[in-house]
């Protein structure tokens, strides 16, 4: 028997009004934004756009009202997410706070942390990054070495976080630090902290240029940075369990299969001009995979709505979704044979140019393909 379950999940009819409202909003807001910028979707940061979304009530949609949320359903949030992604809205600034740091604080944060931070996140004014990876700790997250030593009133932090997306624009980092250095405390010696990136001495953030020349992720160096006691999240030594719960949120959304959707749309636009049986066949295949992934993704959303833990199912969707996203520039190349471009002004060429260079990251970020398949293999009873 398969260890995972994908029950069909149909979005309730009342989400349709919200969908239309979002489409109308996006038609207006995205008019002036070039397709190549839109292709960045949840990697593209635009604080002004985030504030507009906050004003619309589209950040923290499922959170309690007392923390600035809107107490809407996971399904309504799902509709918002997939509409933003499919249109290529620049949702990157608030994305991580909305997706995982907010929910993390709701679950494990102190009342003070929630009161102080969540309403600002929901307004689209306060952004998060995730400090997990380090120079010697990538997939092997428990190898985290950045140390938080107990001192009077807080912790003194030393070490380096790496590949931290958005650290250069974020207000806070949810960081995983080592608080117990005993060899046998590999997992139990980890603790999560809220780090105020804008008001803490001893933190140096250096953007790392990616292969396409974009500054998206960073190296964050801590040198005797002081983090007060009231910024500890959850329990000391409970970091591993909390991070695992957080990753279920990180891996479960429609951004795990829609990152190349804009290229698919532009491929169809090219084929409208050219026609041809081969092109039709390829598009038909892509549509079949798109529809399948959406149903799987919706099924995961249904589990979230029911309060179930879809960690395993989310890994399945992310693995299949990454193949779909990564394959898109290859399919485009084989089908149309047009060179990817930079700054040509041609939508198809520029979107292809951006995605061709970006897709290698899709099976690295949020857990590598091999890690995900390891999780799935564990679910199958193989490890």
């Amino acid at each position: 028997m398969q260890p995972f379950r994908f029950d069909l999940c149909e979005l309730p009819g009342e989400t349709e009004g919200l969908r239309q409202e979002i489409r109308a909003f996006l038609a207006e807001e995205l008019k002036q934004i070039p397709k190549v910028t839109r292709a960045q979707t949840w990697s593209g940061s635009d604080p002004e756009f985030s504030r507009k979304m906050g004003a619309k009530g589209w950040i923290g949609m499922t959170w309690p009202k007392q923390y600035g949320g809107h107490e809407r359903s996971f399904f309504e949030r799902y509709v918002m997410l997939e509409e933003m992604l499919a249109a290529g809205a620049p949702v990157g600034a608030h994305w991580i706070g909305d997706r995982q740091s907010g929910p993390l604080l709701l679950r494990f944060g102190t009342e003070e942390q929630r009161q102080k931070i969540l309403p600002r996140v929901a307004k689209g004014e306060c952004y998060f990054c995730i400090g997990m990876s380090e120079p010697d700790s990538g997939s092997d997250l428990a190898a985290t070495r950045t140390r938080a030593d107990k001192v009077d009133g807080g912790y003194r932090v030393n070490g380096t976080k790496l590949w931290t997306s958005g650290a250069h624009t974020a207000h806070y980092m949810i960081a995983l630090f080592r608080t117990d250095f005993a060899a046998e405390a590999k997992h139990s010696g980890l603790t999560q902290f809220l780090v105020d990136l804008k008001n803490t001495d001893g933190i140096t953030i250096r953007p790392i240029k990616d292969l396409a020349g974009n500054a998206h992720f960073n190296e964050v160096v801590f040198e005797d940075a002081f983090v007060p006691d009231n910024m500890l999240v959850g329990t000391e030594g409970g970091g591993w369990g909390q991070v695992t719960a957080e990753l279920a949120f990180e891996r479960s959304g429609p951004e795990r299969y829609l990152s190349s959707f804009l290229l698919m749309v532009e491929m169809i636009r090219e084929l409208e001009k050219r026609g041809g049986e081969e092109g039709a066949r390829e598009i038909g295949r892509l549509v079949a995979h798109l529809v399948t992934l959406r149903q799987m993704s919706l099924s995961v959303a249904g589990m979230l709505e029911k309060g179930e833990n879809p960690a395993l199912e989310a890994s399945v969707v992310k693995d299949l979704g990454a193949i779909f996203e990564q394959d898109m520039p290859v399919r485009a190349h084989e089908l149309l044979g047009i060179a990817p471009g930079i700054g040509t002004g041609n939508d198809y060429e520029d979107v292809l140019g951006y995605l061709t260079q970006t897709v290698p990251s899709f099976s690295l970020r949020g857990g590598t393909r091999e890690i995900l398949r390891g999780i799935i293999a564990r679910g199958l009873g193989l490890r």
Binding site: Q2, I268, I283, T292, G374, A377
Partner: protein, 339 residues
């Protein structure tokens, strides 16, 4: 699962798990039709899932039928169970009484004149074993006894009978329906896709079980990452097919012939998965899986045969792609999210 679905699932999986032995499938491949099993399948109402209760059926939906169709594939039942289930549904659409015995699908070129059916169909599932055939001629569902038919035996690569059936003025019962013009191919694609999803689920669980059993280098081969990663891929492909076929059946229940979109999607996706999954399953099983003795091939050969029946994935993809391009790039997302 609702109550009917639980009953159906227990009934079909219980029966087929017990009765479809390697020996039975092997004998079927040698030409020995498992009549006793067929009679039990009928007695359990499994061919009449979509027939109203008033006509002796279960009065089920396509979501219910999917359970039976997947089980037929999962257990590699050497019977035209899926075909009969669909044939009976066609008869119900036309208001023609559903006969007992083996009823199969006649997917071919026929003409109907004065209540007499003439023409031929290639590759008729279990044509030699069927008492009746169901054809669709210009929107009319036609039920015809096959006792007078000329039958030229043939096989697909799973050694399932796929016979040429020739009829010359055979006495038939015909009634008009609102079924779409391509109903035979469309719904045929759906039943095969569901069977394939079942067979893919079997490949996944069987391959995991084998990897946990087979020891090399002092440990079960499933402990090696190279094997684990492959089995993870196989399981995700099987999972995708389970979802996409459930989706197609649910949409057919909801919107009738407009579910042609989801049926095409399902056949395309399952076809793609079959190529990946059969390859991994055989690789994990090694040489033993390549023997006739081991039963793995009963499922893999079915997948290789079924993926081309009632339109290969590529054919459905070309159709779906033409429609998508014709509707225009910006129509895709609204269409996908409206379902």
């Amino acid at each position: 699962m609702n109550e009917l679905q639980t009953i159906l699932s227990d009934s079909v999986n219980g029966l087929l798990a017990e009765r479809v032995t390697k020996a039975l499938v092997q004998k079927a491949e040698e030409g020995d039709f498992p009549t006793a099993l067929w009679n039990e399948v009928e007695a359990n109402g499994l061919t009449r899932v979509l027939v109203p209760e008033s006509q002796g059926g279960a009065g089920g939906t396509w979501a219910d039928a999917a359970i039976v169709l997947k089980a037929a594939g999962e257990h590699v039942a050497p019977l035209p169970l899926a075909d009969a289930l669909l044939a009976n549904w066609f008869l119900v659409q036309a208001g023609i009484e559903v006969p007992d015995g083996v009823t199969t699908l006649l997917d071919g070129a026929f003409t109907l004149e004065g209540g007499k059916l003439s023409g031929e169909a290639p590759g008729v599932p279990y044509g030699r074993n069927a008492a009746h055939g169901v054809a669709i001629v210009k929107g009319e569902v036609v039920l015809v006894p096959l006792d007078g038919a000329a039958i030229e035996p043939g096989l697909n690569v799973a050694r399932e009978p796929r016979d040429r059936v020739v009829l010359k003025g055979a006495e038939a019962t015909a009634k008009k329906t609102a079924l779409p013009g391509n109903a035979m191919k469309l719904y045929g694609a759906l039943i095969r896709a569901c069977q394939m999803a079942g067979a893919l689920g079997y490949l996944s669980s069987q391959s995991v079980a084998y990897a946990n059993e087979r020891t090399q280098f002092g440990k079960p081969i499933g402990k090696f990452q190279a094997i684990q990663q492959q089995l993870a891929v196989l399981s995700t492909q099987a999972a995708a097919c389970g979802v996409v076929t459930d989706h197609a059946c649910a949409q057919l229940d909801k919107r009738g012939a407009e579910a042609a979109f989801e049926i095409a999607v399902a056949k395309i996706r399952v076809d793609d998965a079959s190529s990946i999954a059969t390859s991994i399953a055989h690789q994990v099983h090694g040489a033993i899986g390549f023997t006739y003795e081991h039963g793995l091939h009963f499922a893999t050969r079915r997948l290789w045969a079924w993926r081309a029946e009632f339109g290969a994935g590529s054919e459905w993809a070309a159709m779906l792609g033409r429609e998508t391009v014709a509707a225009g790039a910006d129509a895709l997302w609204p269409h996908v999210t409206a379902r």
